[in-house]
Amino acid sequence: MKAKVQVFLKPGVLDVQGKAVEAALHGLGWADVSGVRVGRTIEFDVVETDPAKAEVEVKAMCDKLLANTVIESYAISFA
């Protein structure tokens, strides 16, 4: 099973990269684009086949390393 973790800065934390990308999109003519956020995706294979059990493990990985929960939130999915 492939785990996918998406990490973004929390809504209250200023995402300066997102702001810069948004300004560039506006400059290219997509003037109505708003709310751009830049995050990262981390993918990896897990041997666990039960998504509920795998989620517990991946959540621990997020809290320990993959995300900094002071500034970031994360979403976990499996495929």
Binding site: L14, V16, Q17, I71
Partner: protein
């Protein structure tokens, strides 16, 4: 008087720190590789230097915070040994949970490298006691992610407890409440974005960093 400077892959201020501590305080300095599972005995100070540990992969300081030597640094910090994280070292201390908050990308996305004027907002710490009546200092910053962030509750708490030690007089990077350096609740762990290791000699434009290093050993 003995100090250790931790060397991560990608550290680039480790030798600056060694020279700065030797010349400022006359202390013996040992370099400690990040894979070490033990620290030298009888340390008065542990320094996490500036640089780009692990190429800033994942987040600045995130990988370094999980390296083997950090388990020992955390133990030593909990035993009261003085720990200073400078620039990338500050990021590592936050990632390791030894200091509250986190360092974000600079507000204007720009890498900022220049001398900055700081207010010393707590002169009672072991890192600032030797500044005496001097209430300001000049040190050089050099970072792209030095924008200190913490939630309002945490900011109120660390301000209330006197944990904010240095503030920018002219905030260069958007740091919350102009914060440039903080200590932990125990007062023995300091993280700061400005570099005392680049400000310890008149030829470098400021000697204020030397006062910081001397202060640590004066209280040791």
């Amino acid at each position: 008087m003995k100090a250790a400077v931790v060397v991560f892959p990608g550290s680039n201020c480790d030798r600056d720190c060694k020279v700065a501590i030797e010349r400022s305080a006359g202390a013996r300095v040992e370099m400690v590789w990040h894979q070490e599972t033990a620290l030298p005995d009888d340390l008065d100070l542990i320094v996490l230097p500036g640089g780009f540990s692990y190429g800033d992969y994942l987040r600045c300081g995130a990988m370094a915070a999980q390296s083997p030597v950090m388990r020992e640094v955390i133990k030593a910090a909990n035993d009261g040994v003085a720990v200073v994280g400078i620039c990338n070292g500050f990021q590592v201390l936050c990632e390791a949970g030894l200091l509250p908050g986190a360092l974000l990308r600079n507000e204007k996305l720009k890498y900022i490298c220049k001398p900055v004027a700081l207010d010393i907002t707590n002169g009672q710490t072991r890192f600032t006691a030797s500044f005496g009546e001097q209430r300001s200092a000049v040190m050089t910053v050099g970072n792209g992610e030095g924008n200190f962030f913490a939630d309002e509750e945490t900011l109120d708490r660390i301000e209330g407890e006197g944990q904010v030690v240095f503030r920018y007089q002219d905030n260069p990077n958007g740091s919350a409440r102009d914060i440039a350096g903080i200590v932990n609740a125990g007062g023995n762990v300091l993280g700061l974005m400005p570099h005392p290791d680049r400000s310890f000699d008149p030829d470098l434009g400021s000697e204020d960093g030397a006062i910081l290093f001397r202060s640590i050993f004066a209280s040791a």
